[in-house]
Amino acid sequence: MAASPDFCRQIEALRPVLLKYARLQLRNPAWAEDAVSETLLAALEKPQSFAGGSQLKTWLIGILKHKLVDQIRRNSRELSTTASHDDGEDLDELLFAADGHWRETQHDWGNPEDALRQLDFMKVLEACVEKLPGQQGRLFMMREWLELESDEICKELAITPTNLWVMLHRARLRLRDCLQAGWFDATPDGGVP
């Protein structure tokens, strides 16, 4: 069955948003282009498998997630060799004194609902994920966005569990710092009411 002109136009309009997520996940513009092209092609070849009930974007994101895993698998060798060169600084050293205590008082972020229901918060979060160093961002996205289990990630990228935890530890500390600065410090009523 051929896709209707209307369907084609809608698919085309959603390309930028798919590309945004593909880039966040893969951290490689060429691979991201490929994953999105494969997604759009799959959609155009099988428009009948789109059950009109759900949103077109939801359906496309679902396809994209599979294509992203394919892309990671295909490039796993390159991913594991480039992995450890982009760690960024070690936040642990900045956060803790030699005796293992926090250097600074930790902030109360208040009621999560206050922040989470705001669209601007999602934008700040997205910007913070984008700022993560390459491999940290990739692993964080695999875990939190593709929702892969730790052992699956280790297998796909041929890394050890310890290596994965170290990278996710750094990614989460970095995100926390970024949200503290970009949201909770920046919007006085966004955090503590």
């Binding site: 989470l116 569990p161 500390l173």
Partner: protein
Amino acid sequence: MIKLRISCRDATRITLQAEDRRMPLAERLSLRLHRGLCGNCRRFARQVQLLRQASARWRQHAGE
């Protein structure tokens, strides 16, 4: 005998690792005890929880 008293640095490591795997009993116990005594680590744990909820919301937001 297991080490019951842990530092904030260890508590942070366990808190973050618990996002990605089930931690051994001894570490969960030490963490609970530490959080009972340390306000900074309690607040940090709530930050991590918010981070997790935020990721879930963001994922959902992508599909909408």
